[in-house]
Amino acid sequence: MARAPLSPLDFRPAERGLQVDPILRPSLSYWEDTWRRLRGNRRATLALVVVIALLTASAVGPVVWTVDPSAQDLDQVSKLPWADRRARIVDGAGAADPSLPVARATGGSDPTGMDLRIVGEATTKSVVLEWNLSDLASGYRVYRHIDAIAGGEPLGLPLAEVPIAGPGRFIDRLNLQPHRYYYAVAALDAAGEEQAASTIIPADVVRVLSEQEAIARGFAASKIFPGAEVELPFHPLGTDALGRDMLARLIHGSRVSLFIGIAAPWFYVMIGVGLGSLAGLRGGAVDQLIMRFTDFVVALPFLLFMILFKIGFGIGPGESGILPMLVALVLLSWPGTTRLVRGQVLQIREEGYLEASRLLGAPTRHLLLHHLVPNVMGVVLVTLTFAIPSAIFTEAFLSFIGMGVVPPTPSWGSMCNDGTKTMLMHPHELVLPATLISLTVLAFNVLGDGLRDALDARLRSRE
């Protein structure tokens, strides 16, 4: 193919402002690129949203939900949020009146002839039991059970022994909750052995408040008169075994857990960055010294020392025990980051771009700020994100075995510990804090994964 001969016209400079296809995509900085990739990762974005939501909840929570986390609502103990909150006001001591209606066990004959009955209304103030005395018995033992009892099963909690001399009557005032209780009375022989038990009688206990109690609980005076019905305070997530508001405790607990979970890693990662870069940049004797010390601290059994530290610190009255835990965590956790940062610094020091920059005459300050710091930053950020769940874990573990925060300060770990004691009857007291710990740790873990992928494309390709 013949080519047209070139003429000088072909060598004119291009006109300015000529419309050409743009060959540049908008320049992305390192962080913009990271952010873009992180947002592209749906799981990580979700985790980020969860983390932000948790942080916001623990920051704003106490302002929105102002209930005192250590205030006890003894009318509502271990209650679920949808439990009945009505209470009736009664006057005085609510003493039994012979004219009151009597409830007897329905169905089934009573071979013992004791004819166990409940006099008047069963309320949280008192349950009045009466039975016929028998000539053969030399005493009676009264039982209460919280579940229906089949024949042959234990009768439940022995409440009292009533001597034969008294009337066949017992008034139960022991920690009554609005619930259906099952009562039984067993006749005792002279040796104190049980002979025969009466039929079992159910009692539906109604929650009542005396007028004084209603005033003490702050109900409006106009509402307080015998027979009036009042609504007890609402607990959105129920109450714990001591009648404390779960939501308030969870919010305040989140402050403790998240504070330790974020503050401790922040401090020790900073220490790690400082010492690690010092060791990496200086090298020589300084490096040797720092690394020997690192090796030593790493070899210490971590949780054992956390516990020792907590004991040795000694917690005075009125302290929450958060500070000793924080200090111990920081003192024992810095070596990991130090090693990592030192390794990174040593590696980056040998990189070609640093050499190029140095040969172009860049001052040391420029090398540090523009090359070293941004490149180490990524790794540090990922370490920090992964350090948070492990710190939350540590706090929860220590609080769980009773070595963490001091009651009544709530933390998720100590709430779990309380919850395990009542988990068979009231699982919500364990499930709620446990879910929150798991959710938080999960969110930070997933976020850390996403961040690592976003910061380092090489790592992502291996996944």
Binding site: L304, G314, F397, V441
Partner: protein
């Protein structure tokens, strides 16, 4: 040799800091002797050497006793020596721990290689989701939930399939050791997956394949054996995690292991038991890490001990 020296220094540090920490705690061993006159108190103090200065006299006595393997007498259980407590309850913890490690190791290698083989397919996705859950849920929550689960199971079936708590038969062991090993297993699965994927692209796998070796042989002899090596390296930290995890599991399942005694001693400030168990546990962990390192060098000839 250097490592050995370092280990000894670490153990010494553990013993010393235990001593210092205990001396910072308020209270003293004679505090609950009722109505003691100052003279008797002085006599008692002299009897137990408490009138002498903490440093160096008491410290030296303490160190000498530790070197002879004598940890003293428990404060709260007066008739028991700490050595007896260690001897009696450590085997319980050890059995539980070994079972948990075995379970975690096998589970981790099995599930890890499954995920690598079925990479990005359903088994991989399912297992990896479970792994993330396993890493994120604290051990004590698993323990409590497992206990709830057993109660429910027994209730549904109407007879005691598995005991809820306690110690004695093999059936008591199953659930606690599963729970104890779960976190470590999740961690190992993750590690195993990435190391399997690494090995997958290695030259010797390609060589083995081109030699015409059967796939199962390649998988077991070449892939699995090489990929399992990194699992060994984290065995040291895993032992530590399972030891401390044992505290919680023993507490929840009412297992008479050393971990539970340690936690109880800490709560009751039973000084000698705390000191004894801490030094014991510390030594145990340091030795285990050393042993694991040695074993690693033995298995993998490429690794040379410095």
């Amino acid at each position: 040799m250097k490592r050995l020296l370092q280990g000894v220094v670490t153990i010494w540090f553990i013993a010393t800091s235990t001593f210092v920490a205990m001396h910072n705690v308020p209270g003293n061993p004679l505090l609950d002797e009722k109505a003691v006159s100052p003279e008797i108190r002085r006599n008692l103090e002299a009897r137990y050497g408490l009138d002498r200065p903490v440093f160096p006299d008491q410290y030296l006595t303490y160190m000498r006793n530790i070197l002879r393997g004598d940890f003293g007498i428990s404060f709260t259980q007066r008739n028991r020596r700490v050595n007896d407590i260690l001897r009696e309850h450590f085997p319980v913890s050890a059995i539980l721990g070994i079972l948990a490690i075995v379970f975690a190791g096998f589970g981790g290698i099995l599930f890890g290689s499954l995920t690598a083989v079925y990479r990005n397919r359903l088994p991989d996705v399912v297992i990896m989701v479970l792994v993330v859950v396993g890493i994120s849920v604290p051990g004590f929550v698993f323990a409590a939930l497992a206990q709830l689960g057993i109660v429910g199971l027994n209730e549904v079936l109407g007879w005691t399939v598995l005991p809820v708590a306690g110690w004695g038969t093999l059936r008591h062991l199953i659930i606690p050791s599963l729970v104890l090993g779960l976190g470590t297993m999740a961690f190992l699965t993750r590690l195993m997956r990435s190391s399997m994927l690494d090995v997958l692209g290695a030259d010797y796998i390609r060589t083995a394949r081109s030699k015409g070796l059967p796939p199962t042989r390649i998988f077991f002899r070449h892939q699995l054996a090489n990929a399992s090596l990194p699992v060994l390296t984290v065995l040291g930290p895993a032992i530590a995690a399972i030891t401390t995890g044992g505290f919680v599991v023993e507490l929840i399942f009412a297992i008479p292991g050393l971990g539970r005694y340690f936690v109880e001693a800490v709560q009751q400030l039973d000084y000698t038991v705390i000191m004894g168990t801490t030094v014991f546990y510390g030594t145990f962990l340091v030795v285990m890490v050393l042993v694991v390192d040695l074993a690693y060098a033995l298995v993998d000839p490429r690794v040379r001990l410095e």
